[in-house]
């Protein structure tokens, strides 16, 4: 039986399997991780901590590489504007 954790992504609660990366959770919630300097929505590209496209605001801290962070109970995640 998988174990679940609940996180909040752009204000909306999302339940994911424990061990899910924050980047994967943002993809599941169809939310961009960041808005680029010219205003384009972006989502994870490399999945391995290289490209920084998955950077988002995690628990109030911006520019966090969400592919390198696992979801934890009650974590809040927001698109990095």
């Amino acid at each position: 039986m998988p174990d679940f954790v609940s996180v909040t992504i752009n204000g909306v609660p999302k339940r994911v399997v424990r061990g899910t990366s924050v980047a994967a959770a943002m993809l599941l919630a169809a939310q961009p991780s960041r808005i680029s300097v010219t205003g384009e929505p972006r989502a994870a590209l490399c999945g391995m901590g290289i490209c920084f496209e998955c950077c988002a605001v995690v628990n109030g801290v911006s520019h966090r590489r969400t592919c390198q962070i696992l979801c934890e109970p009650n974590m809040t995640v927001e698109t990095d504007q």
Partner: protein, 432 residues
């Protein structure tokens, strides 16, 4: 500062093999890795339990040997500075930017490789990911069941990724390999002498019975749906004919490029794009060794044997018994490099408004008037964002032929307060 006799950077197969060999022969070993858990990319954790595959079994055994060897693994640490005199500095992102220092007598670089990305119109749309990128995210808990996926680019990874996606329930509508069949034949023939790799290829193919594997084909454009903000279809070509197919996800990567930033920063000598090493994996610096992809893209077997050689060499043990295995693995890499060489048409895909540097949104049209990296960096900020040219650098090398310029520390973004008050977590108030 924490002191190790042997410090290993990277806990993929090469780093695990190196650390195990060194620690099992009495050296005090610390392994640093950027990812949340050891295993590297090829052995990246799956959120669900490992599915009993041979890869999972190999990884389990390697990690068990590592544990028994007594080597200490510290995950989540990004190296941002390194000095051959015996110091490595890391930032521990998950702790909120805690800076740590590690001393070493010998250093083993096992920093692996990353995917090569090439820009094409629409490649910045959400829904367009790397091939290894999508696989890593699926292993990280993303679900692709029922999604229509096109896998494209080049290299042996495409088939592996497509097979895994299909196993996870994705509808893989096509695999596009840019290399021509003729270019790939000698490589394919050489696998006939390698039953393990041949069987692996056959297993992948059997999972993709309904998926066409099109050689000599490549993506020319990713097209957004009506919202203008996410992928809806992909335009592709075989060089003569161009057609469009709908899809939910495009997984596109052009083989691998080595992660050599730390070796460059230390001042190791290079042979082309790769770190130069001798038969015992020693670089041009006497106390720095390098194993795996940074010495030449050659895959898992090369990483394991080179890692073991480096670890034994650091422990003063003989390595000569392993040299022929290492040479065979290296020659596999060279054949692979020829088979998947990039076709020139890929350099003509970006339009003037196609973004090349994704961190700073620098379009291709702004780069033409510059003669090289230094000029372009100063005028456009290309390559100066947080990824430090890790994505656009190899792309621009293919598009414009610019060779990368020297790397500098910090190799990855470090919070300023972490640098000023290192030894304490950033954001903690009791600073002195």
């Amino acid at each position: 500062m924490t002191r190790a006799e042997v410090l290993v950077i990277g806990a993929g197969p090469a780093g695990i093999a190196a650390a195990t060999a060194a620690a099992a022969n009495g050296r005090k070993v610390i392994v640093l890795d950027d990812n949340p858990a050891p295993g590297g990319q090829i052995w990246r954790n799956k959120t669900a339990e490992e599915n009993g595959s041979s890869g999972g079994e190999m990884k389990r055994r390697a990690l068990e040997s590592l544990r028994q060897s007594g080597a200490e693994v510290l995950a989540g640490r990004s190296v941002f500075a390194a000095y051959a005199s015996g110091l490595v500095q890391t930032v521990w992102d998950a702790s909120g930017g805690y800076v740590e220092e590690f001393g070493f007598e010998q250093l083993i670089l096992a920093t692996g490789a990353r995917e090569r990305f090439l820009p094409f119109p629409g490649w910045t749309l959400p829904g367009v990911l790397g091939a290894g990128g999508l696989q890593a995210l699926v292993r990280g808990g993303y679900f692709v069941a029922g999604k229509r996926v096109i896998v494209a680019g080049t290299g042996p990874l495409l088939l592996a990724v497509a097979a895994h996606l299909a196993e996870d329930g994705a509808v893989v509508s096509a695999v596009l390999e840019q290399a021509s069949l003729r270019q790939m034949v000698p490589f394919a023939m050489s696998l006939l002498g390698d039953p393990t790799k041949l069987m692996q290829g056959a297993r992948y193919r059997s999972r993709l019975r309904k998926t066409p594997y099109r050689t000599g084909c490549w993506v020319v454009e990713a097209i957004a749906g009506n919202d203008g903000q996410s992928l809806a279809e992909v335009r592709m070509t075989d060089g003569a004919r161009t057609w469009t197919e709908p899809c939910d996800l495009l997984a596109c990567g052009y083989h691998l490029v080595p992660n050599t930033q730390i070796a460059e920063l230390l001042g190791c000598a290079f042979r082309g794009s790769f770190v130069q090493v001798d038969e015992s994996q020693r670089t041009s610096l006497p106390n720095v060794f390098c194993a795996g992809e940074p010495t030449g893209i050659a895959g898992l077997e090369a990483a394991l044997v080179q890692g073991e050689i480096a670890g034994l060499a650091c422990a003063g043990q003989p390595t000569v018994a392993l040299h022929s295995r290492a040479a065979a693995a290296r020659s596999f890499g060279l054949r692979m490099e020829k088979a998947f060489a990039l076709r020139p048409e890929l350099a003509a895909l970006p339009r003037p408004d196609t973004i090349v540097c994704r961190c700073e949104d620098v379009p291709f049209g702004e780069l033409h008037s510059h003669v090289g990296w230094t000029d372009a960096k100063l005028q456009t900020r290309c390559g100066m964002g947080p990824c430090q040219g890790r994505v656009c650098g190899p792309a621009i090398e293919h598009l414009l032929g610019w060779k990368p310029v020297s790397v500098r520390q910090p190799l990855s973004p470090v919070p300023l307060e972490a640098l000023c008050f290192h030894g304490e977590p950033a954001g903690i108030s009791n600073r002195h």
